[in-house]
Symmetry: C2
Subunit: 345 residues, 2 copies
Amino acid sequence: MKNDPITITDIAKALNFSTSTVSRALRNSYQISEETKRIVQQYAKDHNYHPNLVAQSLKSNKSKSIGVMLSSIPNNFYAEVINGIESIAYKKGYHIIITQSHESEEREARNVEHLTWRSVDGLLISLSSETTDTSNLEKISEYGTPIVFFDRVSDCINTHRVRADNENGAYQLTKHLIEKGSRRIAEITSPRELSITAERHAGFARALAENDIEVEEQYIKYCAHGGMHIDEIEEAINELLALPNPPDAIFTASDRITIGSFAILHKKNIVIPDIIALGGFSNFSSPELFNPSLTTILQPAFEMGKAAAELLIQLIESKRPVTDFEDRVLPTELVIRNSSVKNKL
Amino acid sequence: MKNDPITITDIAKALNFSTSTVSRALRNSYQISEETKRIVQQYAKDHNYHPNLVAQSLKSNKSKSIGVMLSSIPNNFYAEVINGIESIAYKKGYHIIITQSHESEEREARNVEHLTWRSVDGLLISLSSETTDTSNLEKISEYGTPIVFFDRVSDCINTHRVRADNENGAYQLTKHLIEKGSRRIAEITSPRELSITAERHAGFARALAENDIEVEEQYIKYCAHGGMHIDEIEEAINELLALPNPPDAIFTASDRITIGSFAILHKKNIVIPDIIALGGFSNFSSPELFNPSLTTILQPAFEMGKAAAELLIQLIESKRPVTDFEDRVLPTELVIRNSSVKNKL
DNA sequence: TTGTACGCGTTATCAA
DNA sequence: TTGATAACGCGTACAA
């Protein structure tokens, strides 16, 4: 039952060659006669030989695999990003090893270290919402493992970064909400520490400023787990509704928060958009099916994954040290639907 | 910049021990004196030593990683399954390497082989919709790599299988559609070859039979790519609508097909449920937000991932060959909402 | 054109 | 309690 796989040594013995000849013949080396190559390759094929990639890894110190660190897979945005990463990785012969932080800094650190010891050739990272200490990443980077940040980036190390134009996306939506008559606009968002939170808030604030509306702290709600738990969203909304002047619109700053907020408002029978208009970041495939249809800021998730993977593999395969790093910003797309447009009163 | 990581040999040299002593001291072997252990472990800690997992793999022929083969990650159902797999794998110290078939038999075969050569310790597989030839899986299994099937299973090899109670899920929904007044019920489903297609169709047919409704081939539409491309769904629906007696209800047999069909009907301004009632398999998080709210058969996706991973790791770590295999069937849940309930006329 | 010998980092076996 | 040696499978400098 348990047939051990055939090795180069086996072939060498069987054919009365040395292992090096076999090795070279299999790799089609120019130093080997056509005749020998033919024999060896034929034998290998017949006996279903395949190189032991672990041994190759040990020897070459390359594994042809890249580690992906993100917060959560069941998330429209990240799932698409993964798809983009995979499309490039597959083409270039890399495997992807995906780990989730579940928004936990400790888990992120453990996973990243583990990936490193397993000697992935590089790391694609979107930080957890808890992460403040990035010293482990700095160390890993110093030790020579290339890292590319995507989505939730950091400048703790000097490297490529791929992200959406969060500022502009948030700006466009907020501006749109104002134009459609909302004045008291709340923001439900991810933890303060995240790059995307700051960027999206900046766009939000810019739109308000341009329209002479003050940013009021009471209207800004942070979800500690980025909306992973529906409870934190419900709490945020409850607090908003309990205000003396509850908001007449909400800007939701992430996929989970957007769908979650919609669900909570729906559960509470709060009419969207008339009582509260709603719009936010989401990569859900069919926002037009909601009641009312959902206004979204769409991120180029697939493209982001592709770009990040391309840049990483470029780093991995670069002969000389790279010093010139990109901060690639991909455009978002505002799609206006009914959830954000108040009906004439 | 490129500090090579420290190895056991480095420690041995520095401390004037042999590599075997160091190796044993680090693994806390009882044969090593407390004093030596202390010294070695302290040195290792100070110099940030971590075992090279690739070398360990080569030596032990284990990699502490499991390969996951499924059709597509950006899919509510599979994304949740992955999450379930990960929860167990993480707890047991395994990494998961995910590959997608994109419903291509060739790609599935290539990925599975590649995973094997990379010596994953085991494989979790949900077949692609194209797959008919499973000889490669049989070979891999014979060669000693444990495989567990989930979702889209096969009996080509004797092993554990974890799946939802597809027959019953489909039965319940179809019965419900009939009770609510539909008689000409169509089915849009995945390719014939898949286990889930057969199982779900069986439930569908049983409900019809119990109500003396004949199963008409013209009402059964197969999507070659399991609904991955919206076009194939649109085509199916167009064909249904062009029938002399178009259906008054549709049962959709997978996540993508369900959401996709809803979107197509919506686009065509076909009123759900009055003109066509709709319900089907879906693991979308908020089907109650649709207009009308969507009746779904929910699969225990997370649980399925957990179960499959548990069974696989059990196989991997079992000392003696396992001959007694489970066919674990997890219950589905029908959640009735408005899309399936025709309003009184 | 082919072969010999060694090293990648670790662990297991046997000996001291 | 510790050390020398071989082995996992592969690739390569050096030699022939």
